[in-house]
Symmetry: C2
Subunit: 237 residues, 2 copies
DNA sequence: CTTTAAAAATTGGTTACCCAGTTATACGAG
DNA sequence: CTCGTATAACTGGGTAACCAATTTTTAAAG
């Protein structure tokens, strides 16, 4: 049982080591934007790790836009200079897993923006989908069942209606992390109350009448009610 | 030359197809949180694709927190229910690449928050690092060289000082995308002016004296000067 | 010396097999 | 029938060889 976790950590450590070494290599060889990295084989040999590990590390750096891998051709350093590359790799390596507080902080920031944009930009189709998510949520709550999932989908529908796929993407990334932390702290009970429905309804109506300021305010109210309770739980644990 | 791009698109399409099929499978088999997915071998066979493709698709779903892969044991569906799983997979599949406007919008949102948090929470060490980035930037500009990279690192140093690793992570993700778009629209010239130094200095001082409101305002000024120019470029192109 | 075409070497991706750890099953003692 | 153990099957990850597309080298023709 312990070994499972250890294996994962170990794998992450080697990945970080490889990323670090790739960074060193770029410095050492003075590789500029567009230059080609040594082949995966060469790297795996030089670093003394498996080629799979090298590929995973490269994929991670591709996610952050630092490398680009082109089939049957090679891996190339992205169109940012050596100095920026160094700084970013260092930052990526030092990046630690977000704590619950950071997640909530980020979620509130994102949602106050997406709800505002949704009010401004929502199409009729967007509105219908938000309504559908709202109805599903209300139905679940009124029948006394747990409605965490429907709650979540309502918020994601708003994110989508914001018309900003970058924000939408970030919402999709943090949402499950929030959910799992929620379950850990057992604060889902609130989703059984009727207050949630009213708050969701207020948000929906603001979006419907295309009032961004009101939408933002209603979302703020929603979070106030939700997370105040939440923080208390965490402090007492 | 065309084949390069086609290969990449093709690979992405098969990945999306696999993700979609995994979603269908979870529905069909009524897999609940914690249940085990069929083995990678089985999936690759059933879907008629390579096991590597399956692994990559699973990795992507791991990024979004929907699956968890445990060595020598199996891949498990995350601690969110079937309904949420369906909704999220659908959203992920429909997610399109962010356009320039979305990136800028997101960047401004993130930075106005990180600079505020940095003013509130920055340690002495954080402050020193921001100062170092600022000096490097000023030096480059004053010697008449291009300073896009130093500019970027200054902003990332602030993100780090915010003490919110989730926001920090998002900043790291969008920054290179912004940079490459910047280069495409040739709006880097501004980094040669001295105005940038003054604006950065104002932001630094606000963080130093731990004044979040002022820090936010100075950052806002900075962006106003920067992106107004930028939008004009884009519209005329 | 330049140009061009063909062949050899190199590349990221794919495949099949193997490994060590995990999980399920079967079987025997009580 | 119950429990514990041992054996067999299964799993994600590692390894090495292979593939097709690409890039570089080579060499021959002009």
């Amino acid at each position: 049982m312990k070994l499972k976790i250890l294996a994962k950590i170990d794998s992450l450590d080697t990945q970080k080591a490889i990323i670090s070494k790739i960074g060193d290599l770029i410095n050492l060889k003075n590789l500029e934007p567009g230059d080609k990295l040594p082949s995966e084989r060469t790297l795996s040999e030089k670093f003394g790790v498996t080629r799979s590990n090298v590929r995973e590390a490269i994929q991670k750096l591709e996610l952050y836009g630092l490398l680009e891998s082109i089939p049957q051709s090679g891996t190339f350093v992205a169109n940012i200079g050596v100095i920026a590359m160094n700084g970013m790799i260092e930052d990526i390596l030092k990046l630690e897993d977000p704590d619950f507080k950071a997640l909530v902080e980020t979620r509130i920031l994102l949602e106050l923006k997406t709800v505002r944009l949704a009010a401004l930009r929502r199409s009729e189709d967007d509105l219908e989908k938000i309504k559908a998510a709202l109805d599903a949520y209300a139905k679940k709550v009124q029948s006394g069942e747990d409605a965490v999932q429907e709650d979540l989908l309502f918020h994601l529908a708003i994110a989508k209606a914001s018309g900003n796929s970058s924000l939408n993407n970030f919402m999709l990334i943090i949402t499950p992390e929030i959910i799992t932390n929620f379950e850990r702290y057992h604060v889902c009970d609130k989703n059984l109350s009727n207050q949630g429905i009213e708050e969701h309804n207020a948000i929906y109506n603001a979006i419907k009448m295309q009032n961004p300021k009101l939408a933002k305010q209603k979302m703020k109210d929603h979070f106030n009610a939700l997370y105040q309770y939440c923080y208390n739980i965490k402090k007492s644990s």
